[in-house]
């Protein structure tokens, strides 16, 4: 993601309507990563710039959620590392985080687990999204679950994309590091490309908000 589109601190405050105090507090609470603060010298001295798309999205997200959550909860949620959330089977069912079909598919593939780690929930969640969207069938869901379980940890928390490809009814899936470009022969069709970091954020919101679909 090499967008060189930067926004100055002043412009950011202007567009979003937040104050210096808020911005510094969010920085202090790690809601905005340190590396987004880019220093450049301008004719008025040093000024701070931000990657435009990322910061605007982040600020809007914080603004929309800060009434319901404490800043510490928010910081926890926005950090890219999977949280140490562990849920039991009953809890997942009760909180309606994923559909029963996907949950059963996972249990059928890997056997029943007493407690589901954040990563396990993430895998089910990804497959669930795709099944519900009608992109894949159950058998294909199983392939994706196996791929994720076997390979996702190899990315070591780095951002990656899940690609699902089909050609003449034969389907396959794989994981690539985020932002990399892939090209296929013309017969193959990319059914879905999912950014895992985006899904993680979505899932965290869902877990913290109690699992109710937040519209």
């Amino acid at each position: 993601m090499d967008n060189n589109d930067l926004i100055s601190k002043k412009e950011l405050l202007e567009i979003t309507g937040i104050s210096y105090g808020q911005l510094y507090r969010w920085k202090r609470k790690n809601l905005i990563p340190e590396e987004w603060f880019i220093r450049k010298s301008t004719f008025t001295g040093q000024e701070t710039f931000f990657p435009k798309a990322k910061i605007l999205e982040r600020v809007n997200k914080i603004l929309s959620m800060k009434d319901d959550l404490s800043l510490d909860d928010l910081a926890n949620m926005l950090s890219p590392n999977p949280s140490e959330i562990v849920l039991s089977l009953d809890e997942i069912k009760k909180r309606n985080i994923v559909s029963l079909i996907s949950l059963e598919l996972y249990i059928k593939t890997f056997g029943e687990e007493k407690e589901f780690s954040f990563n396990s929930i993430l895998y089910i969640y990804i497959v669930d999204e795709m099944i519900i969207a009608g992109d894949i069938n159950l058998e294909e869901g199983k392939i994706i679950l196996e791929t994720l379980k076997e390979n996702y940890n190899k990315f070591n928390g780095k951002n990656c994309d899940l690609l699902f490809v089909r050609k003449f009814g034969v389907s396959t899936c794989f994981l690539v590091s985020s932002g990399s470009e892939v090209y296929f022969e013309s017969g193959a069709k990319i059914i879905k490309r999912l950014n895992v970091a985006g899904i993680i954020e979505e899932l965290k919101i869902k877990l913290v908000n109690g699992g109710e679909p937040n519209e």
Partner: protein, 251 residues
Amino acid sequence: MDLEKRQDIKIVGDNTSAGGLFNNVSVVGNGIFNSPVDCVYIKAVGDCTINGDLKSVTGVVAGSINVKGSLYADMFKASGNMTVDDNTSIKNLITHGNTTINGNISSEKIDANGYFTVEGNCNSDVFKSNSIVLKLNGLLNADDIDIYIYGNNFVKEIGGEKIMIRRGSESIFKRLKLIKSMLLSHDMCKGNLTTDVIEGDEIYLEYTTAKAVRGKNVTIGQGCNIELVEYVDNFNQHNDSVVRESKKIIL
């Protein structure tokens, strides 16, 4: 925390310890810990050196403490010398002596008096200073910043919600007349603060030299020298101050 296994340790003369888990640590003489220390309470009246990280719930320093690693504590009161080589996280820090942090410090409340030096960034919800010499070489980031100037202060950058920088009253120097005449040069009680940038919502400054001040409501009191002020709502300036340029920003 499993308190059962933790023992107290008391170093009275010259002594060396391997470090490890303790309940109460008390150093009256000259104590050296050769590995990280994790304790409930630490008291350093003599010289204490820790060759590693220090983790403690509370701590009191009346002598001198030298932590060669990082420092984590809920409450720390340093009246003597304190040096930490790495990052520091203390929820509530009160310093009266000479404190030097060579990394970053994050905190909820810092009350700095005496000599206070931070090489990295200083993050806190509340930052209060009555320091003779305050030297922050990184960003001071706090919601509520209240600095009384007594000597020469330097802060690289200041950001926060409410920022008050005022000259302290001279009364404490009157009380300390003897010390003043012995140790401090005359203009110590006429201190100032130098910084690059101040950004906040409510800003009040006295005796401050800055390149840029940006805020919602900016008041420049006595003795300031500011190159650029950018304000959103209100701007007031004392006659004795120099502001080279002031701009209203329309949001």
